[in-house]
């Protein structure tokens, strides 16, 4: 059940992220990217499954519940750290764009040529 709920959440998060990335405002694009990368993290946790209930050490000493896969948590932790770095860089870059061009409107910045 949790998976189904999270799948819905993921759909919403990805669509919000995509919507924001397609905005004209550079700051919203950066928001969009961080939302997309966060939803990738939620996706990772969801992919790990929610079969187990106990914490990782509960099986020791004859404890009952099976543990949830801890590896995805480690992956997400790594991805969050990388996400922080890239978001910070993207924000600095946005500020830089504002300084250079006096605007953060994608249309006024023009195309890549």
């Amino acid at each position: 059940m949790t998976e189904v709920f999270l799948a819905g959440v993921l759909g919403v998060l990805f669509s919000i992220g995509t919507y924001l990335v397609l905005r004209r405002d550079v700051v919203r694009v950066v928001w969009g990217i961080s939302i997309i990368s966060q939803s990738a993290n939620v996706y990772l946790v969801t992919m790990g499954g929610f079969d187990g209930l106990g914490p990782i050490l509960s099986g020791h000493g004859g404890g009952g519940a099976a543990p949830t896969d801890p590896l995805v948590q480690a992956l997400v932790l790594t991805a969050i750290v990388i996400g922080f770095g890239t978001t910070a860089l993207a924000l600095v870059l946005t500020y830089r764009v504002y300084e250079e061009h006096g605007t953060i409107d994608m249309y006024e910045l023009g195309g890549s040529q």
């Binding site: 990217i33 990368s37 990738a40 992919m47 790594t78 770095g85 870059l93 250079e100 023009g110």
Partner: protein, 567 residues
């Protein structure tokens, strides 16, 4: 288990940190940076020596289990023929581009953070070549990209911030997609270790794996690698980013970083996912393995890249633009033989196709770095890279012109330059596939031929315009008579400054000449390059060897036995 595997990684990492620590002293920082780069080349050469040599025999596979955690659980670093070959290319190009950057990047820029960033980029590249774990592949990609973002942004002018913004946003989305694909692969296959994935895909029933979702996820992953490699339809960031970055960084981006995408495609799709056999039929594409599905995809993308890049380059009016579009086209040439190999009817043709791709990637790494560096020097001296501003450089700067000429000839493919063999092998792979009756190989031949003609067209145009033709006023002002270094600019009266400038320009031209000599040398001694590339191709196609080395290799079994409690 061999500690030699991590040597290139450690050398690059230590150099990156040292250059950060010795930042207060210019001379010390440059010395450390240069020595580190030399040490990196030596480390890659030693690894190559241990893995591939003696040439012609089977290449070895060296495995390093980090912290002695046995393969499917710990992080694994693997050096086989393919990794070692790519690492040597990276060592060569990164050293030469670094020497060039010391003479090219302004003193202020170098003091700022150029050297640590450069070496962290090399760390990321090395890690991507060596890792045996798909999540770590993502991490190393990020290390490489984070540094490249800032290096693309290095000049921080109006154009550069805009190009860098596109580059950063695109790559961040690419990273998120990559993470999603990797998460999905973990969920469907139950492991992140590449060798373990291959083993499980070979027996899907035993591990309860549904192959079709894996195919879909690997297709998502493919789009990320295609983005990194700059293939059509993911090519649009290439021209702006290449124009924005400083010349030596562009040389690294085109010569090495792009090859990481190509390497990832070869490693994952030919070594790992090729293990699966799947019965599918989708939009007329069918095959009994994943490669049967990816072959036509690669073919379409390669064809589009060759034609789009080729026509784009013919239409550009600036030198860097021509080189950037040419880069898109050349990546098509690297992927085309892979497409042939993916659908090849026999093992021999598959090996030939992958070999052709690797040889072409190697040539492109050398020649395109040469051309971007030569173009950087021209811009530095003349102050423009617009074709209309340039002319008559062959008289004024004969050595540089000769370097550029050799670079262009290498990419066009004139014997005895190494590029000839690259092109020749691409044609040979397509022709042998045609002779063996593979569908679409006649089309592959036609595309390769059209691409070759386009290459001749745009390099001839660039050559005629820039190096022949009448001398423009701008060139006249920059280079009054002959290639008299350091005498440009009337304001340059200070003798010491002039001497320094002369030294810097001589260094830049020397690097270009060294690369040109390398292109000739590898062409004349092509036998050795071919054997190494063939060993790399065999290693890339040898899924069982890879799985055995990583999961059951010497040392692994003993540790797995001793540390059985972990499992």
């Amino acid at each position: 288990m061999s500690t030699l595997v991590i040597a290139p990684l450690l050398v690059a990492l230590v150099t990156a940190i040292l250059t950060l620590l010795v930042r207060p002293s210019d001379i010390l920082q440059r010395t450390v940076s240069l020595l580190g780069s030399v040490a990196y080349l030596v480390a890659t050469a030693l690894l190559f020596d241990a893995v591939v040599l003696p040439l012609g025999s089977e290449s070895d596979i060296l495995v390093y289990q980090v912290s002695n955690w046995a393969a499917p659980f710990g992080i694994t670093l693997v050096a086989d023929g393919l990794s070692a070959f790519m690492l040597v290319l990276s060592g060569l190009v990164s050293l030469l581009a670094l020497v060039y950057s010391i003479a090219f990047i302004s003193g202020y820029g170098q003091r700022l953070s150029y050297h640590p960033l450069y070496h962290f980029m090399v760390v990321g590249v090395t890690g991507s070549f060596l890792t045996g774990d798909i999540f770590n592949l993502f991490v190393w990609f990020e290390v490489m990209l984070m540094s490249s973002y800032i290096l693309v942004l290095f000049y921080s002018g109006r154009e550069h911030t805009r190009a860098a913004l596109n580059y950063v946003v695109l790559n961040l989305i690419g990273s998120a997609v990559m993470l999603v694909a990797i998460g999905g692969l973990y969920s469907t296959t139950g492991t992140l270790n590449m060798a373990d994935i291959a083993r499980r895909l070979a027996e899907p029933a035993a591990y309860d794996i549904a192959l079709l979702p894996v195919l879909g996820l690997s297709a998502v992953l493919f789009s990320v690698f295609a983005l990194k490699a700059g293939m059509v339809p993911f090519q649009f960031w290439v021209p702006a980013a290449y124009r924005a970055a400083p010349a030596p960084v562009t040389a690294m981006l085109a010569g090495v970083v792009k090859k990481v995408g190509v390497y990832a495609i070869i490693r994952l799709y030919f070594t790992i996912f090729a293990a699966a056999s799947v019965d599918l039929s989708f939009l007329g594409i069918s095959g009994d393995s994943f490669l049967g599905f990816f072959g036509p995809v690669m073919f379409v993308m390669a064809t589009a890249s060759i034609l789009f890049g080729g026509f784009g380059a013919v239409g550009r009016s600036d030198l860097d633009g021509i080189l950037a579009y040419s880069s898109i086209s050349q990546v098509g040439f690297i992927i085309l033989p892979l497409a042939v190999a993916a659908t090849a009817p026999s093992e021999a043709i598959a090996v030939l196709g992958v070999t052709a791709s690797i040889v072409y990637a190697f040539n492109h790494g050398i020649a395109k770095s040469l051309l971007f560096l030569a173009s950087g020097t021209i811009q530095d001296v003349v102050g423009s890279d617009q074709l209309s501003d340039l002319g008559g450089l062959a008289n004024r700067a004969p050595v540089l012109a000769a370097g550029f000429f050799l670079g262009a000839l290498t990419l066009i493919g004139v014997p005895p330059l190494s590029g000839f063999f690259g092109k020749f092998l691409v044609f040979q792979a397509a022709a042998e596939a045609l002779a063996a009756g593979a569908a679409g190989s006649a089309l592959a031949l036609a595309v390769a031929l059209a691409g070759a003609i386009l290459t001749i067209a745009y390099y001839t145009r660039a050559w005629n315009q820039v190096f022949w033709g009448t001398t423009t006023d701008l060139v006249d002002a920059a280079l009054p008579a002959r290639w008299s270094l350091g005498t440009r600019g009337a304001a340059m009266t200070d003798g010491g400054q002039r001497e320094l400038e002369r030294l810097e320009l001589t260094t830049q031209v020397t690097v270009v000449v060294v690369l040109a000599v390398a292109a000739i040398g590898f062409g004349i001694g092509f036998e050795a390059v071919f054997s190494a590339a063939e060993a790399a191709a065999r290693a890339a196609l040898d899924t069982n060897g890879y799985v055995d080395a990583v999961l059951h290799g010497p040392g692994v079994g003993a540790e797995a036995g001793a540390g059985g409690g972990h499992a």
